[in-house]
Amino acid sequence: MEYILIGVWKAFGLILSLDREVFSITSLSLRVSAMATILASVAGMPLGFIIGTENFFGKRVLVTIFNTLMAFPTVVVGLLLYSFISRIGPLGSFGLLFTPWAMVIGQFILATPIIVALTISATQGIDPRVRLTALSMGANSLQTACTMLSEARFSLISAVVAGFGRVITEVGCALMVGGNIRGHTRTMTTAIALETAKGEFAFALALGFILLMAAFLVNILFHWLQEIRG
């Protein structure tokens, strides 16, 4: 119980004193996860839309695959990615291992299935009259797709938020391919893992609270975005 109280106290202390290291790891967490989520949305939404609206052979299998990928353990993704970008791996010459970009790629792999799966269900939930209305008003295929996606915007934003939530809290992958390098690839979650392993529970909790607050602020931002576009 003490840990929790000390943790909250420490959290405030760290924020108010604008602790540089805490600032740096929070900033890295947000940047990496935001970039990964943005890339995953750019890739995943059109894909989800196409799968959701078209009918093709093997569609159900594909949907099932994406739904399963959502539950992929983060450490496993980290391990697989590591084997690819390690020096002795096929993509070794790019020197990606232990860089923030490796973490972005890993989180991209984690976020995309979620965004695809949720976009598929959002698309299937669109009133069929939207498409009809768009077409009857003279929209071409691209414009029709945009109109349909716009009608589903609340669900789509939820999909993005879900994707972001999955990656900002993950540890296994970031640890594996980032290396938890102080000042370079140490994120909030990997720092928490480190401090916990050291036995520094109060500090770990403090970081945890800060992470919570950062995620909270991001969600508020999304909510605001929803408001102005609605």
Binding site: R129, V130, S136, M137, N140, Q143, T147, S150
Partner: protein
């Protein structure tokens, strides 16, 4: 030939083994108001869908203002942009009245300033001045329908289709609607084609009435002839 908006030859529509439409010959003249009448299942809505390019015929030749349109279905947005359809339960995109009326213009890439002008004009015509910022879910049934009409006429279509426009509205709204249709036809010479159950209504508004029965045209009456009809 000049005055023909639609020329229909040998039109059939079959679905699941059933013949829904069978029209050997039909001409829709420019600048007139047509009422398509018939009991449920007579094929009224299907005819409208095919003429508005939202559905494909099984066979037959249709010319729209001199251009053959049969079999094109939804591929050709340029043709569809010359038409506008107001569905039975008009579907409005979830945002404001203004954005809905602007939809067709946005698709046609009108400049914002010109859009504003046109939208004001159309809202005035349907009697919804001042409704610009209203959210769609705040509207009554009659108001929603008028927004859908405003949306349709904003794009200055050559033909305006209305599917059962008076089916779900009360008397005062009905009168407003009739006024709008009349004004549209008088002022802009827009060809109007609507479907209805209500004979009195058809009599009131239409220049010509097409009677459909089991997919076939049983009779075409002009206004004068209607007077003699029981």
């Amino acid at each position: 030939m000049e005055k023909q908006l639609f020329t229909i030859e040998g039109l059939t529509k079959r679905y699941n083994g059933k013949t829904i439409l069978d029209i050997p010959y039909l001409v829709i003249k420019k600048g007139l108001i047509y009422g398509v009448m018939g009991p449920n299942g007579s094929g009224k809505t299907t005819l409208l869908s095919i003429l508005s390019l939202l559905d494909r015929s099984t066979s037959g030749r249709i010319c729209f203002d001199g251009v053959e349109i049969n079999g094109r279905g939804n591929d050709d947005s340029t043709l569809r942009r010359q038409m506008a359809m107001v569905l039975q339960n008009p579907f409005l995109l979830s945002s404001t009245v203004y954005k809905n009326v602007a939809y067709g213009l946005k698709i046609r890439r009108w400049k914002k300033k010109k859009q504003k002008q046109k939208i004001e004009e159309c809202l005035d015509m349907v009697g919804l001045v001042g409704f610009e910022r209203r959210k769609v879910h705040e509207l009554s049934g009659g108001e929603a329908q008028r927004v859908a009409i405003a949306r349709g006429i904003a794009v200055s279509p050559k033909v305006l289709f209305l599917d059962e426009p008076t089916a779900n509205i009360d008397k005062s709204n009905m009168e407003t609607l009739e006024k709008i249709i009349q004004e549209l036809n008088d002022k802009y010479k827009t060809t109007i084609i609507f479907t209805t159950h209500d004979l009195r209504q058809a009599y009131h508004l239409a220049d010509e009435i097409i009677l459909l029965s089991e997919g076939k045209v049983s009779k075409i009456l002009s206004r004068d002839e209607l007077k003699d009809y029981p």
